[in-house]
């Protein structure tokens, strides 16, 4: 008995030890396997979530259905679909973007741009000029508050902040198709990210052209060039950092919406009758404003018309020649072309971001409605 015991006891211990290790391994393997399974289940659940949100988007916005389906493969998107993606990303994501604006012959200007969608659906946006005393614009839904040095803060009704990036391009690019065509160029690397390049060229080649690079992953703007008709760079916006977050930036929690200035209502001046018309207009441009005013700086009386294609605004001034500059003149101010011509008693001035030939064509196309009694 004692011998039996002495034999069996170690054996049982050995067995237990032998069993123990594989059992432990087995349990460990089981644990690993099960955690993998759980993780896959989690992924599946997440996928299901995203599919649900995507499908709900589809229901809410059936026209965007094909774009969302194709957005899984960015290479198959057309240029217009890319711009639709840009609008969607700009409107809906929470992001913080740093970019610089540079123009030939002048210093670069750095900006900080933040956007967020709050829990209650309010969209908030901030644009801050980073150098010097600064300039801060804060948008809460459709009210933009402007904080500038030397000017009391004020607010205006606006759906977007009027910054260096043309808001029409960001928010309503398809409206530009009357004047411009969008061409997909190819892939490139911008700001350290794979990007898609798109060109915007005016249909009648009468305006400056643009190049933009969009982030393949998010659809956000990474780079924006304005080129003259010879392909020389006039203005460039380059994103230096792009951060997309799930939550709106903490900055917006600090904005006290109650203390922002009350928005001013600007009533558009009533259109005034002019006895002259502009006969030539670049394709897609139309008159958006006409009145008779005094210039703020000199007090001269001018008759004024503004034309716009959404991306570019052109001003046409007509004034009495004896009160005017007195000589035909062409200037370039930043990216604006300034052309003034005198014809008899009237002086015609065209200002806008357009090539000189176009400005000249506009200025020389003026015609009188009636025999004038006004000059």
């Amino acid at each position: 008995m004692s011998i039996f015991c002495s034999l069996t006891r170690p054996a049982s211990i050995k067995l237990a030890v032998l069993f123990n290790q594989p059992a432990f391994l087995l349990i460990f393997c089981l644990f690993l396997f099960s955690s993998n399974v759980f993780a896959q289940q989690d992924n599946a659940a997440e996928n299901a979530d995203t599919e649900v949100t995507a499908s709900s988007d589809d229901e809410a916005n059936p026209s965007a259905q094909d774009e969302i389906e194709e957005s899984n493969e960015p290479n198959t998107l057309s240029a217009k679909q890319w711009l639709a993606r840009l609008t969607e990303a700009t409107r809906e994501l929470n992001y913080q973007v740093s970019f610089i604006l540079s123009r030939a012959g002048s210093e670069t200007i750095p900006y900080l741009w933040r956007h967020g969608v709050l829990e209650n659906g309010t969209t908030v946006e901030q644009l801050n000029l980073q150098n010097g005393p600064g300039r801060e614009l804060i948008r809460v839904d459709n009210v933009v508050s402007v904080f500038e040095p030397d000017v009391a803060p004020y607010s205006l009704y606006s759906e977007s902040i009027n910054g260096p990036i043309p808001s029409q391009l960001l928010y309503n690019p398809l409206a530009l198709t009357k004047s411009y065509k969008f061409i997909k160029v190819g892939r490139a690397r911008v700001s350290g990210r794979p990007a898609q390049q798109i060109r915007i060229v005016s249909l009648d080649n009468s305006r400056f052209s643009y190049q933009l690079w969009l982030d393949e992953a998010s659809g956000m703007l990474l780079k924006f060039n304005m080129l003259d008709l010879n392909g020389n760079l006039l203005e460039q916006i380059q994103v230096t950092s792009l951060n997309i977050h799930k939550e709106p930036h903490a900055y917006f929690a600090r904005v006290n919406q109650a203390t922002l200035p009350q928005p001013m209502v600007i009533t558009p001046s009533q259109p005034r009758k002019h006895n002259w018309e502009v006969d030539y207009m670049p394709r897609g441009m139309k008159e958006v404003k006409r009145d008779i005013r005094r210039l703020a700086l000199t007090g001269q009386i001018v008759e004024y018309k503004m034309f716009s294609d959404g991306l570019v605004d052109v001003s046409v001034y007509v004034q009495m020649a004896d009160d005017a500059i007195g000589a035909d003149m062409v200037l370039r101010h930043e990216v604006n072309t300034f052309l003034t011509l005198t014809d008899g008693q009237a002086q015609v001035t065209v200002v806008g971001e357009i090539p000189l030939n176009t400005a000249n064509a506009i200025a020389t196309s003026l015609s009188m409605n009636q025999p004038d009694n006004n000059g």
């Binding site: 009704y157 009533t267 001003s315």
Partner: protein
């Protein structure tokens, strides 16, 4: 000793060129005193007696101080009265400031004086009317004559051009705000 004296006088006369006499003078105060006296005597004889017969005052003053009794309590002085003691040093400082300020004032007056335009013509000169036509160029070095009428016209042109460009930029800014205002008003009208 007499040998030493002879050597000393010989050394004084420049007849002896030995370093040992120098060492001897260095180490012997009696010889030093002699050296001094001989020199005084010699200059006296030569009627160059600018050196008065030496009276060692320092030794006597030191001796007198050693004999003087030590005063334990300091004498009461006006610095020790609390208020006056504080005021007087301040007055002293103020005096220093006053001196500094007067120096500065003198400097300023001097600068003003030196910057005054020099009057090259007599005061009675008839004031002639300069060329009419607005702004004259502000420049100290006018090496060539610029026709002033053109300058004024150029400035006026620039002003008019700037007025137009500024107006254009303002209108571009206003355009969007006006459109949105109109939209907002319409929206409010619908809501009401």
């Amino acid at each position: 000793m007499t040998e030493q004296q002879e050597k000393l006088s010989a050394f004084m006369d420049g007849e002896l060129n030995q370093t040992e006499i120098i060492d001897a003078i260095k180490h012997d105060p009696a010889l030093q005193a002699k050296w001094q006296r001989y020199h005084v005597i010699r200059s006296g004889l030569r009627k160059e007696a600018t050196v008065a017969p030496q009276l060692d005052l320092t030794a006597r003053v030191a001796a007198a101080l050693a004999d003087e009794p030590t005063v334990m309590a300091p004498r009461s002085r006006w610095e020790c009265i609390p208020l006056v003691g504080n005021v007087v040093p301040f007055a002293k400082q103020a005096g220093q400031f006053a001196v500094a300020a007067s120096v500065a004032a003198a400097v300023i007056v001097g600068v003003q004086y030196s910057n005054q335009p020099t009057q090259t013509e007599p005061f009675s000169t008839f004031a002639t009317v300069g060329p009419q036509g607005g702004l004259a160029p502000v420049s100290l070095e006018q090496t060539r004559t610029i026709p002033r009428d053109d300058m004024a016209v150029m400035l006026e042109k620039k002003r008019k051009i700037n007025a137009l460009i500024a107006d254009h930029e303002q209108q571009v800014k206003l355009k969007q705000a006006e459109e949105q205002s109109a939209a907002a008003e319409e929206q409010q009208g619908i809501d009401n």
